[in-house]
Symmetry: C2
Subunit: 290 residues, 2 copies
Amino acid sequence: MLYLVGLGLGDAKDVTVRGLEVIRSCSRVYLEAYTSILSVGKEALEEFYGRELILADRETVEQEADEILRDSKESDVAFLVVGDPFGATTHSDLVLRATKAGIQYRVIHNASILSAVGCCGLQLYNFGETVSIVFWTDSWKPESFYDKIRRNRLSGMHTLCLLDIKVKEQSIENLMKGRKIFEPPRYMTVNQAAEQLMEIVQNRRKLGEELAITENTICVGLARVGACDQKIASGTLQQLCMVDLGGPLHSLVISGCMHPLELDMLRQFAVDPSNFDQINVEDSSTYLSV
Amino acid sequence: MLYLVGLGLGDAKDVTVRGLEVIRSCSRVYLEAYTSILSVGKEALEEFYGRELILADRETVEQEADEILRDSKESDVAFLVVGDPFGATTHSDLVLRATKAGIQYRVIHNASILSAVGCCGLQLYNFGETVSIVFWTDSWKPESFYDKIRRNRLSGMHTLCLLDIKVKEQSIENLMKGRKIFEPPRYMTVNQAAEQLMEIVQNRRKLGEELAITENTICVGLARVGACDQKIASGTLQQLCMVDLGGPLHSLVISGCMHPLELDMLRQFAVDPSNFDQINVEDSSTYLSV
């Protein structure tokens, strides 16, 4: 049996009781290490689970899936994923390979940022399509996520923006020279995401587009959701360019139309509580005018 | 401290290790009992947690919130919610009351159907707005959810439909006579949801509307997601009117535009694998023509 076990969002203790039983009973335990991270490292997990973990980076999962599945018809193998196992595409591929090889699989679900984001007080029912914001480079500045946020917002929906993670990236020089030297991991902050979004807003303004999002749109920055030191900050897009939310992982939410109860919840996390209601009034009027 | 603890989706063992520690250490433990259910009852949870649980129905949470929060400045109180604590609106209200009273709160996240639905193989990133389908009565047959599904589908997005739950409902007779006698709980099945949707499709066809959803649209029925006996069935809307998925809770997904990998996953769960690819071709052509 192949077990896909979600680890949740915070630290080692966020695994479920069933998940922990599975981890302790499997003959091999892999830890997927490229779509998300916990606030603790592999060693802390190994100590808590009482098991040695085999790190599975993107290369391993994509190219050595057969090794992961080896013997799993006769014995049990666990594949651990931060959050819920079906957050990222790659794991469908692993499941399909297992099924093709006649290996049964079972999923042990856990919290995912896609539902845990509800902790900021915005209703999950009012979220539209989720978007990903990637790190821009000097020559590559995709804006497509903006149009999705715009579409959600014009329908009154909130947007969860998942922020880029770069692990095991090689510099162009090392890549060209075939040197397996990797850059330090990079995790996009709410500040970086907000700045990229501000730049798009400014570009679109120059083009004369009617703006559904402005510097004053109410957004929410979330950091380390589910961990003991999680942080949530609400404010204008401009305010979120400056707020300090600490270490990774960060997520950004762009608000749509808000129910009074949603506003009451967001007010708790306001960067500047004194003018929070004022900016909401301004924001709604901008967005209703489009 | 007020702890809002998610219990996940299956049975007692789907609580997280941290959640279990909290439950065992709190002075009072409430179990929210109206937005969702686990496949096991209160007694099984009490035995596993080693704690007595106080059932909190909608009335208790809405009208006796102060009793739930009593003494939680000095001692710890846990409020248990099936799935993730922020799936339903009512709990924002409890959190705001706590904050107003100067009581700190902490959320212990867990799996929610909103992310666990990914186990059917449809990518979570490709879901649009979530809708709720309510039980129709002879005189009340709301169709608004259809228009949301239609909007998602025209953008190529999948739609998760949460199906109605009726607990502690009174018959009109008992209500009028002021008798606190409650009807047995009712949980909408995938069959019932599919039938209601079929009726709307037929109504809209009569009105001459161009249909984005037909009897042949590929849908997915899910039952008891996360439990040992979970069932997933994919097929046309018409096929899902007949499929037997067993006991509650059920959810229904209406597909949008599908990636080949998503189709490969859904094929595993096909009601009729022999014609699954054929129906997909027919379905896509209907929907692309609108």
